[in-house]
Amino acid sequence: MSWSTEPVTTSSSEKTGGGLTNVNSTNRWVVIFIGPPLLLFLAIVAVPTVMALRLSFTDAHLLSDSSNWVGLENFRDALGNEHVRKSIRITLVWTVFGAIVPPVVGLGIATTLQNTSRFATFMKSALFVPIALSLVVVGQVWIWIYQPGDGLLNEVLGVVGLETLERAWLADRSTALWAVFIAWAWQQTVLAMILFLAGLTTVPDELVEAARVDGATRFQVFARVVVPLLRPVTTVVLSLIAINSLRNFDLVFAMTSGGPVRETETVPLLVHRVLFRELEQGRASAISMILFAMTLVVVGGLTWWGRRGSYVND
């Protein structure tokens, strides 16, 4: 019998299933296994997603029972509105820098820490702690760091003689977004580092040794051997961080609530505002659909990039 090695097609699995039990009983078990969780998923995720799509074509309002079909008007309005465009820009900038800063720093640290002492191993596990922290807690710590009076950043600047740079980092329109971004990158770097550390253990030592014997410098080994081999992990890191960038709500809400003057209002915060302050369900849905589309494009692109390079040669 051959069912153990080959991926079995549906028809042959029915055949083998039929030989052991009967098809009806297998189908009954399929319903028992898949039915309840699938119903839950359809009710809470799939159907509401379709409802949101439908709502995005209407002028639905939280305080009114009826709504009219308005076609693409919400989308036209949204894309023509300066606040919406600004939010989209903020989220895109965030995603681009999010795809660069935490992965690069995380990979750098992971490479440096890779083969260090047992003490380092212990320290590494202590350093993982920020990833277990809620973004509310991360936000609180960083609010204290950026605080105008006794904030850590201003105190450090004072000590090194850069008092002129001191400011209320989160209230200043020119620095607020980057201040929140750095707090976020602080945590995401740990995520990238953890995954790269795991990925580095899969790089075969023989390959690195062989390249060294062939006369490659350490940097060449890193760039030409290690980095290409890390491509699958890199895809994971970039996808996770991209999704986290696009969904970013918690940290911004905890630190600035979108302010000062909507300077840090990411798309998720904008959806929240349109839904709960302006109560316009239709417009909120349309903006959330734009966010959904952005997610699909970014993650789709990353997956394509990851697949394309799954064989190690350029």
Partner: protein
């Protein structure tokens, strides 16, 4: 970097280790100072913080802030609510994803590919898409201001990652294991519970760590679906306390520490599982 090329073999090793140590020290500073800062702040009196600043490295240490936040804020209620949301949602999302993943991998129903596509696509749906219709649905059902919306949403949303991970896991288990058990007279349910689940323990631990951290730390759904203090989870409670005790940084820090202890502990114990969960979910994505 370039000098390593011609130098004797030992020297770059020493340099590298030294560079590693320096990076480590900077990294420890950047990561431990903020974390220890919160812990230290929680142990100082609010009067002392007001006088010397949050980041002053010294002070008389006391547990007063912990007693105060326990007495004056609804802390025990917040914690119980968080537990009541997190535990059921972790169990339901993992049990459901394991059942779907197993059935797709081993029973291979027709239409399985479509089911997997629909469930896993949930990974890419931003929470904001769901919020708009769900708010109306929960409102109509009279479930706003209860814990039910959070339990239901986390249980359902979690199915995407748990199904993906468990499907990949069961794909690696040979079919002969199932057929042998069935020849021995077991039914599908017994095969699943007695043969497959024990094998899946590492994958289940990975998912449990991931899901627990994620659900415990979430505050978007409680923010949207609740208004009363009695149904706040601990993360939302922390946000409320930040507003209520605006300058009492010691009190805020104490609740932040209390709220973080469960995930930090779980993370330290199950670190490897967490990493495996993240990687497993995306390896075949």
């Amino acid at each position: 970097m370039s000098m390593t090329e011609s130098a004797p073999r030992t020297e770059p090793g020493v340099l590298r280790r030294r560079a590693g140590l320096i990076v480590l020290v900077i990294f420890v500073g950047v990561y431990l100072v903020p974390v220890l800062g919160v812990v230290l702040t929680s142990l100082k009196t609010n009067a002392e913080i007001a006088e010397r600043g949050i980041w002053a490295p010294t002070g008389n240490l006391t547990l007063d802030n912990y007693f105060e936040v326990w007495r004056k804020a609804n802390t025990s209620r917040y914690l119980i609510n968080s537990i009541q949301v997190t535990l059921p949602a972790v169990v339901i999302s993992i049990a459901g994803g394991t059942a779907i993943g197993y059935a797709l991998a081993k029973l291979r129903p027709c239409g399985g590919a479509v089911i997997q596509l629909v469930v896993v696509a949930g990974l890419f749906v931003p929470p904001q898409v769901l919020l708009v219709p769900l708010f109306t649905i929960f409102s109509d059902a009279g479930l706003l201001n209860t814990l039910w919306p959070m339990i239901l949403v986390h249980s359902a949303v979690g199915l995407s990652i748990t199904t993906l991970v468990m499907r990949n896991f069961f794909d690696q288990i040979p079919d002969t294991l199932r057929s042998a058990a069935i020849i021995d007279g077991a039914n599908e349910g017994q095969v699943f519970l007695r043969v497959m689940l024990p094998l899946a323990r590492p994958a289940l631990a990975a998912l449990a760590t991931l899901q627990f951290t994620f659900i415990w730390n979430d505050f978007l759904y409680p923010l949207v679906f609740t208004t009363g203090d009695d149904v706040r989870t601990v993360m939302l409670g922390l946000l409320a306390v930040q507003g209520q005790f605006t300058v009492a940084f010691g009190t805020q820090a104490a609740l932040a520490v209390i709220a973080s202890v469960p995930t930090v502990l779980i993370f330290i114990v199950f670190q490897q599982h967490f990493v495996r969960g993240l990687l497993a979910g995306a390896v075949k994505g």
